[in-house]
């Protein structure tokens, strides 16, 4: 079953064609393959990064709006409208006349036109206009609030670049770029659709996880080089926390790879489709561990201890301002976005439409349903995961560092090993590789040998849900003792072994 939007193939053919034509004009026509490869990869990288970077605006906008709604607010409502109407009736005047060669005239005309269509309505009612200027009234296509982050980003570019006097200048400058470059590299390995990815090596999962671990180094660099107590503490906390959560996350991913039999992300996704069930229903525990560990990896509430606002001002990025901070801020959200994509790919079947077999068999609607490009499904799934991230942020307080570490080492790690065992057992004894199918409906490899369609995912999910409900039911409030006393009367480092 294929996707009609075969961007990789199109780009491949197009660039080969282009390079052949070009190289035939030169004395080295035999080299066209390499030139074509170069062109192809450049275009693909541009497309992938452009697509993901632009949709990051959606992520930021979603977070603001969701948080705003949960908090009984509106969230940002900045729109582009103020570009032409000015602020509360104050404009910069006919600034386009300063543009040389008369190039400003079309701009002036455009501004005039926009003012007519979506400008201040009534000069007799300046208050109404002033209220309108803040918002979008009547002009829905301006996407109120969507451009707030664009404004933020552009503002960061114009801010002064400051380096603290006592900072270690080289490392201070390098750290944000270390963070953002490693983040961008991850994005290059994420396939957006069956036939739309920048690069797809055989061990892409391993590579991605390895690159995910580079950013903590940048965080630690940033914290240390700023020469500030808050950033240093933030950096150390970050390093400890990321190390603690990397391991359960890796083991959870290992479970996915074992059950899919591949370290390649595309093959993991294809396996989920062909075997007939998303990994979410086979490894619910793994999905939960992966989600929790990912929240910790991207340092969001409730695991945002490294940048805990209450005690560490802004954590490890306290001393960064201007564009460096903007970069780190963007990197933070890119990591979050990458985490959403990874979750969608590992556990939610990537670009495959949900219930493609059932809905696809409806006469007219089904055909149209199957024609929806995979890239849209990928995005939708990633955004749905991001909604969970934003929801967590609104609902939960922050955990203390020692509690974070304890939770990571003492709860997540054993659980992740348990789910690894489950994955091995499922793959070895339950999986039926003969029933893999590459049709719209997918295969039925998880019938457990009884011919009952999807019996294994249903049983696993049911058992897990029951266990989860049992676990999460509160005991009687009176019976629960308070947690152990966290006060340390002896400072750290003074303990002796064996006491």
């Amino acid at each position: 079953m294929g996707d009609w939007l075969r961007i990789n193939d199109w780009v491949h053919e197009g660039s080969l064609f282009l390079s052949e034509k070009m190289m035939n004009l030169t004395p080295w026509p035999g080299e066209s393959e390499y030139i074509g490869f170069f062109i192809e990869k450049s275009i693909l990288c541009g497309l992938i990064f452009g697509g993901i970077m632009n949709t990051i605006l959606v992520i930021l906008w979603m977070e603001r709006k969701i948080l705003g709604r949960l908090m009984d607010r509106r969230g940002a409502i900045t729109s582009l409208r103020s570009l032409w109407v000015g602020e509360s009736g104050v404009t910069a005047g006919p600034w386009w006349q300063k543009v040389p060669y008369g190039l400003g005239r079309p701009i002036g005309a455009l501004v005039g036109f926009l003012n007519k269509v979506a400008g201040n309505r009534d000069e007799k009612h300046p208050t109404v206009d002033r209220v309108n200027n803040r918002s979008w009234h009547g002009v829905w296509f301006l996407f109120p609030g969507f451009f707030q982050n664009l404004a933020d980003g552009m503002k960061f570019m114009t801010k002064e670049h400051m380096v603290p006097r006592k900072a270690d200048k080289w490392i201070y400058e390098i750290a944000p770029f270390l963070i953002i470059s490693s983040t961008v590299v991850i994005l290059g390995f994420i396939p957006l659709s069956e036939n739309f990815y920048a690069i797809n090596p055989k061990m892409s999962v391993l590579f991605m996880m390895a690159v995910f671990g580079v950013a903590p180094l940048g965080v630690f660099f940033a914290g240390w080089s700023s020469n500030n107590k808050y950033t240093l503490l933030g950096g150390i906390r970050s390093a400890a926390q990321l190390t603690a959560y990397e391991i359960p996350m890796l083991i959870a991913v290992l479970g996915v790879c074992i059950i899919s039999g591949s370290f390649n992300l595309v093959e993991v996704i294809e396996f989920q489709h062909q075997s007939g069930s998303w990994n979410l229903f086979l490894l619910p525990l793994g999905a939960m561990i992966f989600l929790i560990a990912m929240v910790a990896e991207v340092e969001r509430i409730p695991f945002d201890m490294p940048e805990a606002e209450a005690e560490l001002v802004e954590g490890w990025w306290t001393e960064y301002g201007g564009m460096r901070w903007g970069l780190m801020f963007a990197a933070e959200y890119m990591r979050t976005y990458a985490a959403c994509f990874l979750f969608a790919h590992f556990f939610l079947g990537g670009w495959h439409a949900p219930f493609a077999g059932v809905i696809g068999s409806i006469p007219w609607f089904g055909t149209a349903y199957l024609l929806i490009p995979g890239i849209i499904w990928t995005m939708l799934k990633a955004w749905a995961i991001f909604v969970i991230f934003a929801w967590l942020r609104a609902a939960l307080p922050r955990i203390r560092t020692d509690q974070i570490l304890e939770f990571g080492w003492r709860h997540l790690l054993p659980l992740s090993i348990l789910q690894l065992v489950v994955a091995v057992l499922l793959r070895l004894y339950v999986f039926d590789s003969a029933n893999m199918r590459d049709t719209a409906r997918g295969g039925f490899a998880w019938d457990g040998g009884f011919g009952l369609f999807l019996i294994v995912p249903i049983i696993v999910t049911f058992v897990f849900s029951v266990l989860f409900v049992i676990y999460s039911i509160d005991e009687e409030p009176g019976d629960v003792g308070r947690p152990f006393h966290a006060q340390t009367l002896e400072p750290a480092g003074t303990h002796k072994a064996g006491e």
């Binding site: 940002a76 602020e87 933020d152 801010k159 200048k169 301002g321």
Partner: protein, 197 residues
């Protein structure tokens, strides 16, 4: 090697960069491209700057609660891109919302100097404008403008959150009028007072 500001001399590339920069600058000037880019981009950057004003999360006294209320559901300053940050390095606006005592005069100047340009200062409330009810006190400065330059004054004791939001509106007007220039180069003649026009 790490002292002063001479770190780029290690590879002696500073002169090269400067030279290339100068040549490019001349070329751009000759073709008026600089003016073109400057005017076009300037408007966009001006828009970005005035739409995203991050005030410093600095609560001094009573007005701090009105500042908090302005961030709350009823007034919701976040609608207009006013998002409070805790670190002065990441802020554009210093919102002084209380009396400046002698003990606090030094820290607030340091905070102001830690903020990157372009930056603005809003004096919120009587205490920050003139000392307010405490103007006779032995320990209070007569307004924050004795130590840092103020762009917008919001009178009231304390001003209502709407007034604060309007103050940010006035600051936007100021930015659109005189541009997002650093605080030293700003004309110092006409600070904006809410309620005058």
């Amino acid at each position: 090697m790490m002292e002063g500001g001479e770190n780029y001399t290690v590879f002696n590339s500073r002169t090269l960069v400067d030279m290339v920069g100068d040549v490019t600058d001349e070329a751009l000037k000759a073709t008026k491209l600089k003016q073109l880019i400057g005017t076009l981009g300037g408007r966009f950057f001006n828009w970005a700057q005035r739409k995203s004003l991050f005030p410093l999360h600095l609560g001094i006294k009573c007005c701090a609660l009105e500042m908090a209320a302005a961030g709350g559901p009823r007034f919701d300053a976040e609608r207009f891109g006013v998002i409070f940050r805790s670190s002065p390095r990441q802020c554009d606006v210093m919102l002084v919302n209380g009396p400046i005592s002698k003990k606090f005069a030094d820290p607030i100047v340091r905070l102001w100097e830690q903020m990157p340009e372009p930056k603005w200062c809003i004096a919120m409330g009587e205490c920050a404008i003139s000392g307010g009810p405490y103007f006779q006190s032995y320990n209070i400065l007569e307004g924050v403008d004795t130590v840092i330059p103020v762009d917008v004054y919001i009178p009231g004791c304390p001003p209502r959150p709407e007034a604060l939001i309007d103050g940010f509106g006035k600051l936007r007007e100021k930015i659109i009028r005189i541009g997002a220039v650093p605080s030293q180069e700003r004309p110092n003649d006409a600070p904006i007072i809410i309620g005058e026009d």
